[in-house]
Amino acid sequence: MLSRLKRDLTMAEAARAPGGARVDLLLVAEMVTPGSKVLDIGAGDGELLRILGEQRGVDGRGIELSREGVNECVAKGLAVIQGDADTDLADYPDDAFDYVILSQTLQATRRPRVVLEHMLRIGQNAVVSFPNFGHWKIRLQLFFGGHMPSTDNLPYAWWESPNIHFCTIKDFVVLCDVTGAKMERAVAFNAWGTPLRFNAPWWFWNLFGEQAVFLLSRRG
């Protein structure tokens, strides 16, 4: 399911850099220190791991729910295992990675809080990217249309959507507070993949950011 979502993101209007790589993945990759050890949860077809390997020289591992995604990744020479973010993270020892990444997957997990807590236990840092449900287009759809929103990036009807835990940027900030995560960096970007003004207030990001990427660490 996660991989289906990612493929949709890949095929739909996901903004791409001149090299063809997805902008959101490049933004995630940018937050990772070169040469570090990384776990990518919801590795999809392995594009992020490939970018991390080629551009950041990281020692990357992945977990992916769908069998097709895993087999595709392994055939590409990536270290990916079949597993479920909701159940399998408990098996990982503390501090096993420098970064644990959850890219476009948070909203499809059953227990986002538990997943985020595990991420910050397994890794020194967590990187989370997600679609912002507070974006003005989504608000308009609900306000005027009266329907659950669907967009190019999130094309499902509510009854078949794998995305069961949507949140806004503001909501995610609350989750960070609840789990005791420290926000090191955050970027919101618009539909064209252009990052919003760095010093803009949260309400601005929440209204105009189509997607967000957060770099988190453990507090204290």
């Binding site: 392994v74 055939a75 270290a79 295992i81 098996d91």
Partner: protein
């Protein structure tokens, strides 16, 4: 005819010769270089029969060890000298195959306790001039691996580029990574487990009892008494063969179809195609395999429990491992089901090893690792490509 015909085409003397003077490369270790067995016995002299494919590069860095399963042997990718059939992994190993012999130097030894030229119960005991039979010491997976390490020393290969094997071969792969982690750059344990399950030990025990119940087994001294426990061994093979397949595969292949007849004969003849198939599996197996060897190798698998050597924690076996692992299981494998592979993966994750894991959808059961499985081929190829890149392997000579 009511009883199955398990008479053999090749005679016992031929097979006995293969055990001592095989159609293979052979390295002999003298009294000065014994094999230290887990049973506390030094096996000496002993020999290892093996095949190689491809060319070892100048850096000696492209060697791949292929470990065979219970009833396999060293003839991975050449015509089998006894059966005249294709090698058991010809689809995987060869020029342009996933384990590409144009890139890699493939070594495949017969295991200790086997019957195709490496010392085992069918080999001649130098003390008596007769086959070892049950005087042969009980061997373990670790003993097999220890012998293979001696073979690599002999060949001057300090570290393997990769090691691959399914089932009992996969057990050897895991044992290698635990015993000699620095000698293994990458590893492919397929359809295997870190320990033999109670159900699998039970199946093996049925097979062994079938062999021992054959009056021609003679407490393992059938060579000296010119008998052969082929009925018992064939029944053991028939039972085991069912466990290598799956309900779905058997149904797809045979269903309830009759064999060369329209109606049941109201007898115990092989009315059903599946019966006829199993009898054929049994009788062709006894042509090429030694009954005592079957006892010893099944025992070695039963004893395998990697965690037992590491305070009950499998992860400790791989602590600090730098080996790159690719674990593969098959959905319809009920002998080494996916949860066993998952346990390997969890242990490797816990020890921080670099691991890939894929489960392949197939109805072919445990034997899928030996069969035409394009997804398996793509995964093995991709995994080895990635590992070759990481090792900086030069292609060609």
């Amino acid at each position: 005819m009511v009883e199955a015909d398990f008479s053999v085409a090749s005679d016992a003397a031929d097979r006995a010769r293969e055990a001592d003077i095989p159609h293979s490369l052979v390295v002999r270790f003298g009294m000065d270089r014994p094999l230290r067995l887990d049973a506390g016995i030094d096996l000496a002299p002993f020999q290892i029969a093996y095949q190689t494919y491809g060319t070892l590069n100048a850096e000696r860095s492209n060697a791949v060890l292929v470990c065979h399963a219970l009833t396999g042997d060293q003839h991975v990718a050449n015509l089998h000298p006894v059966t005249q059939k294709a090698g058991w992994w010809e689809t995987m190993v060869g020029p342009g195959r996933p384990i590409d012999t144009q890139r890699y130097f493939v070594i495949s030894p017969n295991v200790v306790g086997g019957c195709m030229g490496t010392t085992g119960p069918a080999s001649t005991n130098p003390a008596t001039g007769m086959p070892w039979g049950l005087d042969f010491p009980v061997i373990t997976i670790r003993d097999m691996v220890r012998a293979q390490a001696m073979l690599l020393d002999h060949l001057g290969i300090a570290s393997l580029f990769s090691i691959a094997g399914g089932s009992m071969g996969g057990m050897q792969v895991l044992q290698w990574c635990a015993s000699y982690p620095r000698r293994v750059f990458s590893a492919l344990p397929l359809a295997t487990s870190t320990r033999h399950s109670a159900q699998n030990i039970a199946f093996h025990e049925v097979g062994r009892q079938a062999v021992m119940a054959d009056p021609e087994w003679r407490q393992g001294r059938y060579f000296g008494e010119s008998t052969s426990p082929r009925r018992g061994l064939a029944v053991a093979r028939m039972g085991a063969h069912i466990t290598y397949l799956s309900d779905a595969a058997l149904h797809r292949k045979f269903g309830r179809k009759f064999q060369d007849r329209e109606n049941p004969t109201f007898s115990f003849d092989a009315d059903f195609e599946v019966e006829s198939y199993l009898r054929h599996q049994g009788s062709s197996f006894v042509e090429r395999f030694d009954a005592n060897s079957y006892l010893y190798l099944t025992r070695a698998m039963d004893y395998f429990d990697l965690a037992a050597d590491y305070n009950g924690v499998v992860a400790n076996a791989f602590r600090g491992a730098e080996t790159r692992f690719c674990v593969v299981s098959f959905t319809s494998d009920w002998l080494f089901p996916t949860p066993e592979s998952r346990a390997i993966v969890h242990a490797l994750n816990a020890s921080g090893a670099r691991v890939s894991f894929a489960e392949i959808v197939t109805d072919k059961g445990h034997d899928a690792f030996l069969l035409e499985e394009p997804e398996l081929f793509a995964i093995v190829r991709g995994f080895l490509d990635g590992a070759a890149k990481a090792r900086g392997l030069k292609i060609g000579k």
